[in-house]
Assembly symmetry: C2
Homo-oligomer: 117 residues x 2
Protein backbone atom coordinates (compact mmCIF):
# COMPACT_ATOMS: atom_id res chain seq x y z
CA UNK A 1 0.00 0.00 0.00
CA UNK A 2 1.43 3.41 -0.88
CA UNK A 3 1.79 6.19 1.71
CA UNK A 4 -0.83 8.15 -0.23
CA UNK A 5 -3.53 5.59 0.49
CA UNK A 6 -2.42 4.40 3.93
CA UNK A 7 -1.87 7.24 6.35
CA UNK A 8 -1.59 4.86 9.28
CA UNK A 9 -0.44 1.28 9.75
CA UNK A 10 -3.84 0.66 11.29
CA UNK A 11 -5.68 1.57 8.09
CA UNK A 12 -7.49 -1.44 6.69
CA UNK A 13 -7.49 -2.30 2.97
CA UNK A 14 -10.69 -1.69 1.03
CA UNK A 15 -11.46 -2.42 -2.63
CA UNK A 16 -11.93 0.70 -4.75
CA UNK A 17 -15.48 1.18 -6.01
CA UNK A 18 -14.53 -0.10 -9.46
CA UNK A 19 -13.05 -3.27 -8.01
CA UNK A 20 -16.22 -4.33 -6.20
CA UNK A 21 -17.69 -7.46 -7.80
CA UNK A 22 -21.26 -8.69 -7.70
CA UNK A 23 -20.14 -12.28 -7.02
CA UNK A 24 -18.18 -11.23 -3.92
CA UNK A 25 -21.11 -9.11 -2.75
CA UNK A 26 -23.52 -12.05 -3.07
CA UNK A 27 -21.09 -14.42 -1.38
CA UNK A 28 -20.67 -11.97 1.51
CA UNK A 29 -24.44 -11.71 1.98
CA UNK A 30 -25.07 -15.45 1.64
CA UNK A 31 -24.12 -15.93 5.29
CA UNK A 32 -26.98 -15.34 7.78
CA UNK A 33 -24.71 -13.59 10.29
CA UNK A 34 -23.24 -11.23 7.71
CA UNK A 35 -26.68 -10.51 6.28
CA UNK A 36 -27.82 -9.63 9.80
CA UNK A 37 -24.88 -7.24 10.25
CA UNK A 38 -25.74 -5.49 6.98
CA UNK A 39 -29.41 -5.22 7.95
CA UNK A 40 -28.47 -3.57 11.25
CA UNK A 41 -26.08 -1.15 9.56
CA UNK A 42 -28.76 -0.25 7.01
CA UNK A 43 -31.40 0.22 9.69
CA UNK A 44 -29.12 2.40 11.78
CA UNK A 45 -27.81 4.38 8.80
CA UNK A 46 -24.68 5.39 10.69
CA UNK A 47 -21.37 3.90 11.78
CA UNK A 48 -21.56 1.13 14.35
CA UNK A 49 -18.72 -0.38 16.34
CA UNK A 50 -18.01 -4.10 16.11
CA UNK A 51 -18.86 -4.41 19.81
CA UNK A 52 -22.37 -3.08 19.05
CA UNK A 53 -23.20 -6.39 17.40
CA UNK A 54 -24.19 -9.14 19.75
CA UNK A 55 -23.57 -12.15 17.55
CA UNK A 56 -23.81 -15.71 18.93
CA UNK A 57 -20.29 -16.57 17.76
CA UNK A 58 -16.74 -16.12 19.01
CA UNK A 59 -14.93 -12.81 18.70
CA UNK A 60 -12.61 -14.22 16.03
CA UNK A 61 -15.56 -15.43 13.97
CA UNK A 62 -17.15 -12.00 14.29
CA UNK A 63 -13.90 -10.41 13.10
CA UNK A 64 -13.86 -12.82 10.16
CA UNK A 65 -17.40 -11.87 9.13
CA UNK A 66 -16.59 -8.15 9.19
CA UNK A 67 -13.43 -8.76 7.15
CA UNK A 68 -15.38 -10.68 4.47
CA UNK A 69 -17.86 -7.79 4.26
CA UNK A 70 -15.03 -5.25 4.01
CA UNK A 71 -13.07 -7.17 1.39
CA UNK A 72 -16.22 -7.59 -0.70
CA UNK A 73 -16.76 -3.82 -0.61
CA UNK A 74 -20.00 -4.03 1.36
CA UNK A 75 -18.77 -2.10 4.41
CA UNK A 76 -16.08 0.38 5.29
CA UNK A 77 -14.10 -0.23 8.50
CA UNK A 78 -12.30 2.64 10.19
CA UNK A 79 -10.42 2.78 13.46
CA UNK A 80 -11.58 5.60 15.73
CA UNK A 81 -9.45 5.52 18.85
CA UNK A 82 -9.73 1.99 20.18
CA UNK A 83 -12.99 1.21 18.38
CA UNK A 84 -13.31 -0.30 14.92
CA UNK A 85 -16.27 1.40 13.29
CA UNK A 86 -18.33 -0.09 10.46
CA UNK A 87 -20.46 1.62 7.84
CA UNK A 88 -22.35 0.38 4.79
CA UNK A 89 -20.82 1.51 1.48
CA UNK A 90 -24.28 2.44 0.26
CA UNK A 91 -23.13 5.17 -2.17
CA UNK A 92 -20.69 2.82 -3.85
CA UNK A 93 -23.14 -0.06 -4.05
CA UNK A 94 -26.03 2.12 -5.26
CA UNK A 95 -23.77 3.59 -7.94
CA UNK A 96 -22.54 0.21 -9.16
CA UNK A 97 -25.80 -1.72 -8.81
CA UNK A 98 -28.78 0.67 -8.58
CA UNK A 99 -31.62 -0.80 -6.55
CA UNK A 100 -29.83 -4.02 -5.64
CA UNK A 101 -29.03 -3.28 -2.00
CA UNK A 102 -32.59 -2.15 -1.33
CA UNK A 103 -33.97 -5.25 -3.05
CA UNK A 104 -31.71 -7.47 -0.95
CA UNK A 105 -32.66 -5.70 2.29
CA UNK A 106 -36.35 -5.94 1.39
CA UNK A 107 -35.97 -9.67 0.64
CA UNK A 108 -34.19 -10.24 3.95
CA UNK A 109 -36.88 -8.33 5.86
CA UNK A 110 -39.62 -10.25 4.09
CA UNK A 111 -38.05 -13.60 4.89
CA UNK A 112 -37.45 -12.62 8.52
CA UNK A 113 -41.10 -11.58 8.85
CA UNK A 114 -42.26 -14.84 7.29
CA UNK A 115 -40.00 -17.11 9.32
CA UNK A 116 -39.83 -15.02 12.47
CA UNK A 117 -36.10 -14.33 12.07
CA UNK B 1 -40.47 -39.53 -1.43
CA UNK B 2 -44.13 -40.55 -1.67
CA UNK B 3 -45.65 -41.87 -4.91
CA UNK B 4 -47.81 -38.74 -5.02
CA UNK B 5 -44.84 -36.44 -5.48
CA UNK B 6 -42.52 -38.76 -7.41
CA UNK B 7 -44.14 -40.27 -10.45
CA UNK B 8 -40.82 -41.55 -11.71
CA UNK B 9 -37.54 -42.59 -10.19
CA UNK B 10 -35.94 -40.03 -12.47
CA UNK B 11 -37.76 -37.12 -10.85
CA UNK B 12 -35.32 -34.78 -9.15
CA UNK B 13 -35.96 -33.27 -5.68
CA UNK B 14 -36.87 -29.59 -5.51
CA UNK B 15 -37.53 -27.43 -2.45
CA UNK B 16 -41.13 -26.29 -2.08
CA UNK B 17 -41.64 -22.55 -2.54
CA UNK B 18 -41.88 -22.02 1.21
CA UNK B 19 -38.59 -23.80 1.79
CA UNK B 20 -36.55 -21.54 -0.51
CA UNK B 21 -34.11 -19.43 1.53
CA UNK B 22 -32.53 -16.12 0.58
CA UNK B 23 -29.11 -17.26 1.85
CA UNK B 24 -29.13 -20.33 -0.41
CA UNK B 25 -30.28 -18.20 -3.35
CA UNK B 26 -27.43 -15.71 -2.83
CA UNK B 27 -24.91 -18.51 -2.40
CA UNK B 28 -26.10 -20.15 -5.61
CA UNK B 29 -25.72 -16.88 -7.54
CA UNK B 30 -22.34 -15.99 -6.02
CA UNK B 31 -20.61 -18.28 -8.52
CA UNK B 32 -19.90 -16.65 -11.93
CA UNK B 33 -20.81 -19.80 -13.86
CA UNK B 34 -24.11 -20.25 -12.08
CA UNK B 35 -24.94 -16.57 -12.46
CA UNK B 36 -24.28 -16.94 -16.19
CA UNK B 37 -26.63 -19.93 -16.40
CA UNK B 38 -29.38 -17.94 -14.67
CA UNK B 39 -28.83 -14.96 -16.98
CA UNK B 40 -29.20 -17.20 -20.04
CA UNK B 41 -32.34 -18.84 -18.67
CA UNK B 42 -33.82 -15.42 -17.90
CA UNK B 43 -32.92 -14.07 -21.33
CA UNK B 44 -34.40 -17.08 -23.09
CA UNK B 45 -37.49 -17.21 -20.89
CA UNK B 46 -38.06 -20.88 -21.68
CA UNK B 47 -36.68 -24.29 -20.77
CA UNK B 48 -33.15 -24.99 -21.90
CA UNK B 49 -31.34 -28.31 -21.89
CA UNK B 50 -28.10 -28.69 -19.97
CA UNK B 51 -26.31 -29.34 -23.25
CA UNK B 52 -27.41 -25.89 -24.48
CA UNK B 53 -24.89 -24.31 -22.09
CA UNK B 54 -21.35 -24.23 -23.37
CA UNK B 55 -19.50 -23.77 -20.08
CA UNK B 56 -15.69 -23.94 -19.91
CA UNK B 57 -15.76 -26.66 -17.26
CA UNK B 58 -16.10 -30.44 -17.13
CA UNK B 59 -19.46 -32.13 -17.48
CA UNK B 60 -19.45 -33.16 -13.82
CA UNK B 61 -18.79 -29.55 -12.73
CA UNK B 62 -21.62 -28.39 -14.97
CA UNK B 63 -23.91 -30.99 -13.38
CA UNK B 64 -22.83 -29.77 -9.95
CA UNK B 65 -23.68 -26.14 -10.80
CA UNK B 66 -27.16 -27.09 -12.02
CA UNK B 67 -27.73 -29.16 -8.89
CA UNK B 68 -26.78 -26.23 -6.62
CA UNK B 69 -29.22 -24.00 -8.52
CA UNK B 70 -31.97 -26.62 -8.26
CA UNK B 71 -31.44 -27.29 -4.55
CA UNK B 72 -31.49 -23.55 -3.82
CA UNK B 73 -34.84 -23.28 -5.60
CA UNK B 74 -33.53 -21.08 -8.40
CA UNK B 75 -34.28 -23.49 -11.24
CA UNK B 76 -36.53 -26.43 -11.93
CA UNK B 77 -34.99 -29.44 -13.64
CA UNK B 78 -37.19 -31.90 -15.50
CA UNK B 79 -36.31 -34.92 -17.60
CA UNK B 80 -37.87 -34.88 -21.05
CA UNK B 81 -36.88 -38.06 -22.82
CA UNK B 82 -33.10 -38.17 -22.67
CA UNK B 83 -32.70 -34.43 -22.07
CA UNK B 84 -32.58 -32.73 -18.69
CA UNK B 85 -34.41 -29.42 -19.13
CA UNK B 86 -33.87 -26.35 -16.92
CA UNK B 87 -36.18 -23.44 -16.21
CA UNK B 88 -35.99 -20.47 -13.87
CA UNK B 89 -38.47 -20.62 -10.97
CA UNK B 90 -39.39 -17.01 -11.63
CA UNK B 91 -42.93 -17.22 -10.24
CA UNK B 92 -41.70 -18.70 -6.96
CA UNK B 93 -38.83 -16.22 -6.59
CA UNK B 94 -40.96 -13.21 -7.53
CA UNK B 95 -43.59 -14.28 -5.02
CA UNK B 96 -41.09 -14.79 -2.19
CA UNK B 97 -38.81 -11.83 -2.96
CA UNK B 98 -40.58 -9.31 -5.22
CA UNK B 99 -38.12 -7.44 -7.42
CA UNK B 100 -35.04 -9.29 -6.24
CA UNK B 101 -34.44 -11.49 -9.27
CA UNK B 102 -34.79 -8.54 -11.63
CA UNK B 103 -32.44 -6.44 -9.48
CA UNK B 104 -29.88 -9.25 -9.51
CA UNK B 105 -30.17 -9.73 -13.28
CA UNK B 106 -29.85 -5.98 -13.84
CA UNK B 107 -26.76 -5.85 -11.59
CA UNK B 108 -25.19 -8.76 -13.47
CA UNK B 109 -25.90 -7.15 -16.84
CA UNK B 110 -24.51 -3.85 -15.65
CA UNK B 111 -21.32 -5.44 -14.39
CA UNK B 112 -20.90 -7.46 -17.59
CA UNK B 113 -21.31 -4.28 -19.67
CA UNK B 114 -18.76 -2.47 -17.51
CA UNK B 115 -16.16 -5.23 -17.46
CA UNK B 116 -16.91 -6.74 -20.84
CA UNK B 117 -18.11 -10.01 -19.34
Amino acid sequence: MSPATATSSRDLPHPARGDIRLQALLHALSDPMRLQIVRELAADGDELSCSHFDLPVTKSTTTHHFRVLREAGVIRQIYRGTAKMNALRRDDLDDLFPGLLDALLAAAARQAARLGG
